[in-house]
Symmetry: C2
DNA sequence: CAATCCTTTGGTAGCGCTGTCAATATCAGT
DNA sequence: ACTGATATTGACAGCGCTACCAAAGGATTG
């Protein structure tokens, strides 16, 4: 006897089966595939399980079936509001399903990401949701050789590992700039913090739109690797004004930066949009009620999380999407802060 | 042969043991308790594991050892910035430890919480971190009869289930009101959204402080069960002004509400603090850089998460804290929005 | 009525790891 | 050299569940 004997009050599948008068394997089938049971046994097992308060041992199930009902989620940050919306979508989609989330924070490091990926995949997850399209070559090959569905979120690109849901940050930024140009603004600056791959693509979109209009001037770009914050937005905006005092408008890499820029304008008694137009990115909730209301490029973060989780579930159940890449798009929410010049 | 044979390339503990020339159990001990091995074997097992890229099967480990290295975390919301700070603290504290997080969202429902609790405890977690002190009686008795360490966070109260880390929302709100009173404000309103137990205790603190000063007037309280947002802050503030046009100051149940109130003041061209003082709660990052800078009651959310996770780890390792209840306190960050009246 | 099929149920044998205890090696003390 | 104590190591069994196969029961057909 290698083990202390099991406590007699412990409810295992065996106990349920005994009470229901069936074999353990039949009781097991009730949970895996109830349709395979006859109606009578199904009811008997169900009531026995309820009566005893049976809760399956997931470790035993995982060991025996060689898979877990866990969906791994890799995000670069937990602080960023953007990801909390995505996570909410994921958790909502999985609510009531047998799947649970294993969340890990890569802290914007693709090497950390690779490490976490190995850890996750060793546990045979049901699926994986990873942020972005900039993985290490090693991460990519690990993911490509794995059996479970994988959804890359936040961005879209030409070569999905498996599935992808997001939007083009490049096009979204371009659309934001086009809006400013349409409104008559010409000397438009760019503020970017953190400068992760997605912010960089927004910068590229800005550059492209400005170059297309023959208006690009590198002195109007201020970026930093520092994590984003409202305070930082004010600082970056002050830096931009120092470098390029003649700017008429500023395109901000995200909404925190935009709010910080607005506050800095207020501090300097610069009127928005008369003296300075402001456009943000993501359209967080506060943008529509700031004074003046702040224009922003809306992204569908909640939907992204929700749909990514649904894509994983559909894929494990054999219903792969006809299109592996889903573009959720974006929309420029035009508000007072970028009203027509003059 | 009940099973398809194991793939020969699969790396199990057996493979590592074979390569290292030891028994599987000795290899196992290397991971559980390396000090119990002789130096030579320790090195042999380590290099064998590295060479083969061995990753332990957590399901098998959990099944055999009857416990998991998972810490369950129950929070009421993923959207609320407050909890994202707490979560960041928890994840940071556990980074590099063998423990992982299982996060679940109770959506501010104590019945959902009870359900999730049962689910968690069935998996024999290492520890549990739960939000607040308002559990169902059933939840409480489940948790009291369980072996693993449990930390209640966000609040402190008289009877911890096991351990507790937080602060008194009642005292924190009282301190915020005292500050306004000291600054010469008398007709002070209260704005509250969601009205979860912690916001209710802040309201009680407000009522106590106002009553102590013989200044309490129920018409100056506006609350709603609607989840908090900046926009809602503006709406609530407008409601308050309609009900009690003579107010001089407003104490907001959180910082989003405070920011919304500030924007509403700007919209109405009411100067802050001359015509209206504003005090928020939590001291989110933007409060210190708004225009004017916004006074807020700072709470130590990151530290709360970090220390809660550390308390769990310490407790499982047998080092129980001498004091089961930790009060992290708060501090009133006095800023322009509540500068002295006149 | 036998042959065939499909549905429903059960038996067997692990999944990969670790708790318990026993066995062996090592060492200090007498 | 011998005893007892301590450090290392190994054998065994089993954690609770499910994959696989086989068998039994019932329906259908020629």
């Amino acid at each position: 006897m290698g083990r202390k004997c099991a406590k007699p009050d412990k409810i295992r599948l065996t106990e349920v089966a005994k009470l229901a008068g069936v074999s353990p394997i039949t009781a097991s089938r009730f949970f895996r595939n109830p349709d395979a049971l006859s109606v009578g046994k199904r009811a008997r097992v169900e009531s026995a399980a309820n009566e005893l308060g049976y809760v399956p041992n997931l470790a035993a199930r995982a060991l025996a079936s060689q898979r877990t009902e866990v969906i791994g989620v890799l995000v670069p940050s937990l602080t960023n509001n953007v990801f909390s919306d995505v996570l909410r979508g994921i958790y909502d989609a999985l609510d009531g399903s047998p799947y649970s989330i294993q969340l890990a924070n890569t802290r914007y490091s693709i090497f950390q990401e690779e490490k976490l990926l190995r850890l996750f995949l060793a546990q045979k997850p049901t699926g994986l949701i990873v942020t972005g399209i900039n993985q290490t070559a090693e991460s990519r090959s690990i993911m490509e050789s794995v059996a479970c569905p994988i959804v890359q979120i936040m961005e879209i690109g030409p070569s999905p590992i498996d599935m992808m849901i997001g939007f083009s940050h490049y096009e979204a930024a371009k659309a934001g700039i086009s809006h400013l140009l349409e409104q008559g603004y010409r000397r438009i600056g760019f503020l970017g913090a953190r400068m992760d791959p997605r912010v960089q693509r927004r910068l590229e979109g800005y550059q492209a739109a400005m170059s297309d209009a023959a208006l690009f001037d590198p002195r109007r770009v201020v970026t930093t690797a520092t994590p984003s914050s409202v305070t930082l937005g004010g600082t970056l905006f002050a830096d931009l004004l120092a470098k390029a005092p003649d700017i008429e408008a500023v395109f901000c890499g995200n909404d925190d930066i935009a709010l910080g820029a607005l506050f800095e304008c207020q501090r300097r008694h610069m009127s928005v949009p008369e003296q300075m137009a402001i456009v943000g990115f993501n359209d967080l909730e506060f943008m529509s009620c700031a004074v003046p209301t702040l224009t922003s490029v809306r992204t569908n973060r909640y939907e992204m999380g929700r749909d990514a989780a649904m894509m994983v579930i559909e894929a494990v159940e054999g219903r792969r999407p006809e299109q592996p890449v889903v573009d959720l798009g974006f929309s420029v929410m035009k508000r007072q802060s970028s009203a027509r010049r003059n």
